[in-house]
């Protein structure tokens, strides 16, 4: 028995836009339309929570915890930790620094210091706002990655097909997704070839970096044109220009009870975000005094 299959010979993991996900997890089995709607509603809900005069930190935190649960459930958390955790932490750290430095509000000073003659103070209020932004941005970043790591490119193509979009348009979109991996591999091969010839220099100067990138940009563009010509000829040899419609979808999904449940919850969360501030309801203003 293959490690990636269960006893029935069914796949335990499926290839998604980013990495792999557990085949029977909740998010993998949602219809792409549902995922898109959840993505939209929750993004709006978190942006509303973040941009309130008194940002709703707890709402964003709750969304973040829920997303982390689904990342664990779909077994995609390991990929996130390996490939994105450092990036996300740096982005969140930069976000916090910007909010602390450029948002000089509040009267309850925690620390005050001088840089180049300018006095910067970190107050309880500015720290709270900075943290609320960090949780909001973090929740949305993780949600985006959850959606990408649990959605297959073929599902998007099939969903577009279900919408009645023409064969040539859906095939064009599937070509974009399929070419992503091919071009990523080509880029890596060119880089390795250049490293082997002593091309790696790790220059810090941005102008020198740009010059270094020029050496990479010409071969990648030339290779892209070569791939397109080869692919075009292969498609034409299979009668592409005469093709009328797309063959039957390999994976066909219908919107079911699971989809309706997730949709209802996300609409409810959007409503909560619009109508109330959970942090204030739970006495969040007083928490500032504990800092």
């Amino acid at each position: 028995m293959n490690k990636r299959e269960n006893r029935m010979g069914e796949k335990r993991y499926v290839k998604t836009i980013l990495f792999n996900a557990k085949a029977d997890s909740f998010f993998v089995n949602l219809h792409p339309f549902t995922k898109f709607a959840i993505f939209l509603f929750l993004s709006i809900a978190v942006i509303i929570a973040m941009t309130k005069p008194y940002p709703d930190l707890l709402f964003s935190f709750f969304i973040m915890i829920a997303v982390v649960y689904f990342l664990i459930e779909s077994r995609t958390i390991k990929y996130l930790v390996k490939s994105y955790l450092v990036l996300i932490i740096i982005a969140l750290f930069v976000l916090l620094i910007w909010w602390l430095v450029f948002n000089q509000v509040g009267v309850h000073v925690i620390i005050s210091f001088s840089i180049f003659g300018a006095v910067l103070k970190i107050t309880k209020e500015s720290l709270y706002i900075g943290l609320a932004k960090v949780f909001g941005y973090g929740a949305m970043a993780l949600l985006t990655l959850l959606i990408l790591m649990t959605t297959r490119d073929i599902e998007i193509v099939n969903a577009l097909n279900q919408l009645g979009i023409s064969f040539k348009k859906t095939f064009f979109i599937s070509l974009i997704f399929r070419s992503l991996n091919i071009m990523a591999e080509d880029l890596e091969s060119i880089r390795h070839a250049q490293f082997a010839r002593g091309g790696k220099t790790n220059k810090k100067n941005p102008f020198l970096k740009a010059k270094e990138f020029l050496a990479l940009s010409v071969p990648i563009t030339a290779l892209m044109i070569k791939r397109a010509v080869e692919m075009g000829q292969a498609l034409e040899a299979r009668g592409f220009s005469k093709a009328g419609k797309l063959s039957q979808p390999v994976v066909k999904k219908n919107i079911g009870l699971l989809d309706y449940s997730f949709l209802t919850i996300s609409i409810l969360l959007l409503y909560i975000s619009i109508t109330m501030n959970i942090t204030q309801v739970l006495g969040g203003v007083q928490w500032l005094n504990l800092l």
Binding site: I47, V101, F207, A228, L235
Partner: protein
Amino acid sequence: MNDYSQYTLKWKSGQITTTQYTLYAIQIAVVILLSWLGVVATPVVGPGIGFLYWAYPFFIVFTWWWGLWGVLSAFIGCFIGAGLLTGLPLIPSLAFSVGDLVPALLVLLLYRGYLRKIGVDPLGRDILKNKKALFWFVFWVMGITNIIGGLWGVWVLVWLGFVPANAYWLGSALWIIGDAIVLIIAPFLSRALTPIVERYGLISKGLIS
């Protein structure tokens, strides 16, 4: 001597061949990939702002070559590559991708509309040897359109609450300077590869074919 009058703002100039069809899809994939690299493999100088956005010179050259398909790659590349694939949410990604779409569109309109009439190559091959072409590249591509894109992109981030309003000008400046640096690649790329793309008959003479 090149005949610049064949590159116009006409919607269509012949049928799209199967090779062109695959090429347009692959160039979008390349811009997505480079946009993603531009954010994850370069220093992050602000929330959502990578300093060296490698995709920029590519979609400018693709816009010179393939008209609106290059503009589309600018938008989709930023939306998916610099937005969704780096964890940026749907709405911010969509909104700030307009900051790449508008510059690409303005570049297309000026090069195919006005500049070809005054003897500047609409495919950007002559930037390194023609002072007039160099001026328009610096003024329009590195300057005006880049500034519009930067001001818009950071304004979206401020509007959505990712960047504090007080940091607007610093964020915009970093965005614009970073893009201007990587744009240096564009004339070299065009000079090296335009003859090959032309030889294959893959240049769009109209906006979409």
